[in-house]
């Protein structure tokens, strides 16, 4: 049984999310409570507020506050070629299908600081498809989007990126795609040329592009089931017939109301294909 202070805190948390939505139209109301509460607790401590109600008060009255709060609300950290076997499966199983199209659109939803996006662009370049593909990189957090567009990463992360790239069946060296200096690695500018960066919320925005592949990994785990259903519905509507959807290694359409609209293409790697008959 929960204590009264715990219930009160839950109410305050919901009121804070409602305030952020009503005042700034950022919709976090459908996010999983446990993860959000953990990150907002860190934010509350950082901003020196005793309660979520005090944080709410500051968010409502201080215009600049919400942009300082956003980094706590959205997950910032990813890796290039995270879960290398996913990218290997894309390379070996999905790319052969994509080769049959004269032009391609790929949507990386929740791109954070660009790690997943550039993994995808590099993969398509290595497979000779980059020149006929447009990549859409979206995130709810415009600061993360700006970081993604800049494509600058701490040098100490590159070793892991390189190991991941090799395991994913990478051709050539990952370092070919970076310039290094001053403790940082900067992504090759040409990798951005076919990318469109766009502010987009899976919680409130509409269908985006007519994509042959949507990759949205480790984003749905932060959503409640109704919000997951909304997002998957968006992906379904955004995909061409027989288009592909890639999810995170612990995500699944099993509980989704849209499960019947997709076929499992690679169960282990959580790659789905939109059914032909819809």
């Amino acid at each position: 049984m929960k204590s009264l202070p715990s219930r009160t805190e839950e109410i305050e948390l919901h009121l804070l999310l409602e305030a952020i939505y009503l005042r700034y139209h950022h919709d976090f109301r459908g996010y999983s409570v446990a993860s959000l509460k953990r990150r907002l607790t860190q934010a509350r401590q950082h901003f020196g507020c005793e309660t979520f109600s005090q944080l709410q008060d500051r968010v409502l009255r201080d215009e600049g506050m919400v942009s300082r709060l956003l980094p706590y609300l959205t997950v910032q950290v990813s890796e290039m070629f995270r879960d290398p076997s996913y990218f290997r499966a894309l390379r070996e199983k999905v790319i052969p299908h994509l080769r049959t199209y004269p032009s391609l659109k790929v949507w990386i939803a929740g791109c954070s600081q660009g790690e997943e996006l550039y993994s995808m662009v590099i993969l398509f370049r290595e497979e000779g498809l980059e020149n006929r593909t447009i990549f859409y990189a979206t995130d709810i957090n415009s600061t993360a989007l700006a970081a993604a567009e800049a494509g600058v990463y701490d040098l100490d992360r590159i070793a892991l990126f390189t190991a991941n790239h090799q395991k994913s069946g990478g051709k050539g060296s990952l370092s070919d795609h970076f310039t290094t200096g001053y403790g940082r690695a900067v992504i090759d500018k040409s990798l951005r040329q076919r990318v469109v960066f766009s502010d987009h919320s899976l919680a409130s925005d509409a269908v985006f592009a007519e994509a042959h592949l949507v990759s949205c990994r480790n984003v749905l785990i932060y959503f409640t089931r109704p919000l997951q259903d909304r997002a998957v519905g968006l992906f379904q509507d955004s995909l061409v017939r027989r288009g592909f959807l890639g999810l995170g290694s612990k995500e699944s359409l099993r509980f989704s109301e849209h499960a019947g609209d997709f076929e499992e293409f690679d169960r282990k790697e959580r790659i789905y294909q939109r059914s032909a008959d819809r």
Partner: protein, 195 residues
């Protein structure tokens, strides 16, 4: 009106690091068939290794054992392991959430993340257990369990392969009881009838 407390609002959370398999082997197989509480387990595992803990323990336990899945309801009488490289949390509606948030004290999954969220969900229906390990992960989490009115148990440091984790938990959580593995198992077996 406060809702009648039900069996669904009680659980056990267990965390371990170095020496985990030995310690858990003294506890999980001891839980009898028909044990009513869910048991949620976090073990520190290197990110790229899937040690197959659920399969290992499924072969030795009377209870069903599985890896926790995102959005899955927490079921009574089942042992759940956090997946490698994902934090495991419990939602207020007693379903699981997974997270790729930053490691806590270099670990993902972290005891603190599971214990704190489970304390929020279960309140005084929770029993937290910190076993052998080599970091201070779990100390803050166990304190949250005790603060919510739950029970806090710690493996006696002298019997732990890794002393640091139990010592940190005892330091952070004066209400915790230090027990050897056999006594922890007995305590957990008696737990459902003592709440």
């Amino acid at each position: 009106m406060i809702a009648e407390e039900s069996i669904n609002e009680s659980a056990v959370v267990i965390g371990a690091s170095v020496g985990a398999i030995g310690a858990l082997s003294a506890i999980l197989p001891a839980l009898p068939a028909g044990y009513p509480l869910p048991v949620l387990v976090v073990v520190h595992i290197p990110p790229d290794r899937d040690t197959g803990l659920p399969a290992l323990f499924a072969a030795r336990c009377a209870l069903p054992v599985k890896e926790a899945e995102d959005k899955e309801p927490v079921r009574p009488g089942t042992i759940y392991f956090a997946p490698p490289n994902y934090h495991l949390l419990v939602e207020p509606d007693f379903t699981f959430a997974l997270s790729v948030d930053d490691p806590v004290m270099y670990s993902r999954p972290a005891l603190d993340v599971l214990f704190e969220s489970a304390a929020d969900a279960y309140g005084n229906g929770l029993c937290g257990v910190v076993l052998t390990g080599a970091s201070a992960d779990g100390a803050r989490g166990l304190r949250a369990v005790a603060a919510a009115g739950g029970r806090a148990l710690v493996q006696t440091p002298e019997t732990a392969e890794g002393e640091i984790m139990p010592r940190a938990a005892l330091d952070a959580c004066p209400l915790a009881r230090a027990l050897d593995l056999g006594d922890i198992a007995r305590e957990l077996i008696q737990l459902p009838s003592s709440t």
